[in-house]
């Protein structure tokens, strides 16, 4: 049994620098890895280890200040090299030097049969912190009751890489993951995929075949089409990589922190796949793959829509499995760009010839390509927003900090990533994802 969904509103952004289909991942080892607490939204970190302490892979680095059970664990064994702090002693990142050592073992004896044990295993292994919940798009509370669980089985974001096949062991891990997850929800476990994709039917899960352009893979899109989140309800979201880790945990009792990263973008010499671990060094991932042409580049951990800009000495951020490098563009002097008829310019507007070149792979840079304005054009967000929500009005309610209105207009159903395409298409260049993030944080603060 599977459910079919056709996404009608949306946009596939075609960019240069995609990973070839038959690419094989290359091994990438790095001397240090880092975990950034900010990536685990909603969790205020309290360190469990100090600089210099030895650490095992899967051993907690820090936990939530409000609930000790919510832990984030180290992806490698070694020693804690640095706890980098910023203003007001905020922990910016925890750097771990890679060494040797056995991984931490988690008790998973009853994880596949007992509800409490399943939850315990996820919390103790740190995999719980890899879940996200709606509403608020944060790490769920340790005792959260999930109406349903949604697993994102593919990625439709620009230049994202999805494997073409899957091994038997992996399929087994996914099945086991579903089994464990179904213990922690009152409802169903939904797994989305492209119709006819590599992903087989997983016993115990409701498969969702999603057709259509990005944001087809966003959890928000799938939830909205199947069963939108109402006030008072909580659903959990995770990606396929996390489902696999959960399955492997239940099978082996250890957490697999390895990840395959797609190195993409127009400024990468050879788009490729890299096998590495969570929190790997960007310099190791991009080794010898960036041309030295003197032009400024933007390195993004993640895709161009929702990723985070990092420096070349930075680290792979969680949960991204992609690194995109595009031109920064601040070193270009473009004469009267607003009048340009160049086919190299990418746009949703038919006033650009590029709009009609559906096969062209574009090489955009990070410029705003215009000044920030008040909301002028109407209906721009609607065209790329596939939920039954009025995005413009929701944004206005958030800006006005009107809690009642936000609730009425569906703030519980959205995450910042759902607004990424609208932010891209906006001629007024408003920072929609930031606005939504701040709105969700504000709402959570006021209602807690």
């Amino acid at each position: 049994m599977s459910i079919g969904i056709k996404v009608k509103k949306g946009l596939d952004i075609h960019l240069a620098g995609g990973v070839p289909e038959n690419a094989r991942p290359a091994e990438c080892r790095c001397a240090t890895v880092a975990i950034v607490p900010d990536d685990f939204t909603g969790l205020i970190p309290k360190m469990e280890l100090r600089e210099g302490d030895p650490v095992k892979a899967g051993q907690p680095l820090f936990h939530s200040k409000l609930d000790e059970r919510l832990k984030v664990t180290s992806p490698v064994s070694g020693t804690v090299k640095a706890v980098v702090r910023g203003e007001r002693r905020k922990i910016l990142r925890v750097v771990v030097e890679t060494g040797n050592g056995e991984p931490e073992r988690i008790n998973v004896a009853k994880a596949l049969s007992d509800k409490g044990a399943a939850r315990e295993a996820l919390l103790a292994s740190g995999l719980w912190a890899m879940l996200r919940q709606r509403p608020y798009d944060i790490i769920p509370a340790a005792d959260a009751r999930f109406r349903d669980i949604f697993v994102t089985g593919f990625d439709s974001a620009p230049l994202a890489w999805t494997p073409a096949s899957i091994s038997k062991e992996e399929a087994k891990a996914l099945e086991t993951g579903v089994k464990l997850l179904s213990l922690i929800t009152d409802g169903k476990v939904y797994v989305s995929r492209r119709p006819g994709s590599f992903l087989p039917d997983l016993p115990g899960a409701e498969m969702v075949d999603v057709e259509g352009p990005h944001p087809a893979s966003n959890a928000g899109t799938v939830i909205a089409a199947i069963k939108p989140v109402n006030k008072g309800e909580t659903v959990a979201c995770l990606d396929l990589a996390t489902l696999r880790r959960i399955g492997l945990l239940a099978i082996s009792g250890t957490v697999d922190f390895t990840t395959t990263v797609a190195v993409t973008g127009s400024e990468v010499k050879n788009p490729a796949l890299v096998d590495t671990v969570i929190g790997a060094e960007i310099s190791a991932i991009l080794k010898n793959n960036i041309p030295e042409d003197g032009r400024n580049k933007r390195i993004i951990s993640g895709n161009v829509l929702t990723g985070v800009a990092v420096t070349s000495d930075g680290y792979l951020r969680y949960p991204y499995r992609q690194v995109t490098v595009i031109p920064e563009g601040d070193d270009v002097a473009e004469f009267m760009g607003w009048a340009s008829l160049s086919p190299k310019k990418q746009s949703t507007s038919p006033t650009f010839p590029g709009h009609f070149l559906s096969r062209r792979l574009f090489k955009p840079d990070a410029r705003l390509l215009g000044g920030r304005r008040a909301m002028i054009m109407s209906g721009e967000y609607d065209k790329v927003f596939p939920m039954d929500i009025l995005p413009e009005y929701l944004i206005k309610a958030i800006l006005a900090k009107d809690i009642d209105r936000m609730e009425q207009l569906g703030i519980y159903e959205v995450a910042p990533e759902d607004f990424a395409l609208a932010e891209y298409a906006d001629t007024s260049k408003l920072e929609l994802q930031k606005i939504v993030r701040e709105g969700l944080d504000y709402l959570r603060k006021e209602l807690s």
């Binding site: 473009e334 006033t351 650009f352 955009p364 705003l368 215009g370 109407s378 209906g379």
Partner: protein, 405 residues
């Protein structure tokens, strides 16, 4: 281009805080961002942006207005020549005459409006916004050719300050700025803005054309309103051009009739409409439903035609081609800031603009043209329509939440 870029970069410090020319920062900013795409890169959220920006949006609207503007120039000359009783109509002389007639009005509208915009941008420490680029060209196009320059200046200043800037600038206004300019003129100086003395230029322009004394020619709609005609034939006979010949539907469509400068030619308006609809800048929902609403109301009026209101004898084609209807439906009603913002709302809004425009023009002999008032009225009602559409979405969500409990 590199030399120009260098020049601009070199000049920048003197316009920044503490610089000698600091008071002109907004002017420098305006010119700099016009010449070179800003180098500001994204700091949060998406890393790439659509190439479309508000500058291009506004320029496309201006491009769509050019056919109307050019035709307006020709028609201004044509009407003048016709009034002088000429037999031949030399194209370039007609164009030059019209150009010289409209140029001072364009210049006055832009100087006053942009001047205010620059001052406000400087005062608010904001970037100059593009909204007035379109408003400035619209103002002379929707005014009679004989409107005195000082009136244009006063009306432009009034509407830019009190209709736009006090609300917060481009994107925040409730009413269409250009239309309020027109409404201000209409109600403050009715004698100079309507009747039979203002729609055809009578003076000489730098030696082109001649001085015509005692020239009177009302617009066809004005003629109908004051004709007292009691049947369709009477109405048709009342519409004459300046030489006294009857005006055919073809002439109305082409626009060779007296009227406000840029809005007489339905043909050119349709060319503009094609540009706006193809580029997606005007909402097809609004434009189409405005014409539909106008056609429906014209049909109803024509069907129940009564001698009390001579304009009710006009056919659907005449109603849509005459006066400012088509211009308002294409260039005024779809203004994204002042129209409805929800898709459902756009259909309702557009339809009502059409209906109300014909309603006012037909059933009120005092106002021979209703398009301006119709759009302004619907500007005021647009938030209400949107409110109802948004409430429907809210109710749907609330019902769903209740069912889930």
């Amino acid at each position: 281009m590199k030399a120009l870029k260098k020049l601009m970069d070199k000049a920048r410090p003197s316009f920044e805080e503490g610089g000698k020319l600091h008071a002109f920062r907004s002017v420098y900013d305006g010119i700099d961002t016009f010449l070179f795409t800003p180098n500001e890169t994204s700091r949060s959220g998406v890393h790439i942006h659509d190439s479309m920006d508000s500058k291009r949006t506004m320029i496309i609207v201006i491009v769509a207005l050019i056919p109307c503007l050019l035709f307006g120039m020709y028609n201004a000359g044509y009407q003048h020549w016709l009034a002088a009783g000429a037999d031949s109509f030399p194209f370039w002389q007609l164009m030059s005459y019209g150009f010289l007639a409209v140029l001072p009005r364009l210049v006055v509208a832009y100087v006053v409006g942009l001047g205010i915009e620059f001052i406000v941008a400087q005062w608010r420490k904001e970037e100059i916004q593009e909204g007035f680029l379109v408003t400035g060209i619209l103002i002379p196009m929707i005014c009679p050719i004989e409107t005195p320059l000082w009136m244009i200046a006063v009306a432009t200043a009034f509407s830019v300050i009190f209709v736009k800037e006090v609300f917060g600038g481009t994107g925040y206004n409730i009413f269409n700025v250009a239309l309020v300019t027109r409404a201000f003129l209409f109600f403050a100086y009715p004698a100079q803005m309507s009747g039979d003395k203002v729609f055809v230029a009578s003076g000489k322009m730098l030696g082109i054309g001649g001085e015509i004394d005692g020239l009177t020619c009302a617009t066809p709609l004005g003629q109908v309103a004051t004709s007292g005609a009691t049947d369709a034939a009477g109405v048709a006979g009342a519409m004459t051009d300046i030489a006294g010949d009857p005006v055919s539907l073809w002439h109305m469509f082409l626009g060779l009739i007296p009227g406000s400068f840029g809005e007489t030619s339905t043909l050119c308006i349709l060319i503009g409409a094609l540009i706006l609809l193809f580029t997606g800048i005007a909402s097809w929902r609004i434009v189409l439903s405005a014409f539909a609403g106008g056609a429906v109301m014209a049909l109803i009026a024509n069907w129940c035609a009564t001698p009390t209101y001579p304009a009710s004898f006009l056919t659907v084609g005449e109603q849509l081609c005459l006066g400012g209807f088509a211009f308002a439906a294409v260039f005024m009603a779809p203004d994204p800031v002042t129209s409805c913002r929800t898709n459902t709302g756009k259909y309702i809004y557009g339809f009502l603009v059409g209906v109300v425009a014909i309603l006012i023009r037909t059933y009120n002999n005092g106002y021979p043209e209703g398009a301006m008032l119709a759009v302004l009225l619907m500007n005021a009602l647009a938030p209400l329509i949107d409110y109802c559409v948004v409430e429907a979405n809210v109710r749907r969500r609330m019902a769903r939440a209740k069912a889930a409990e």
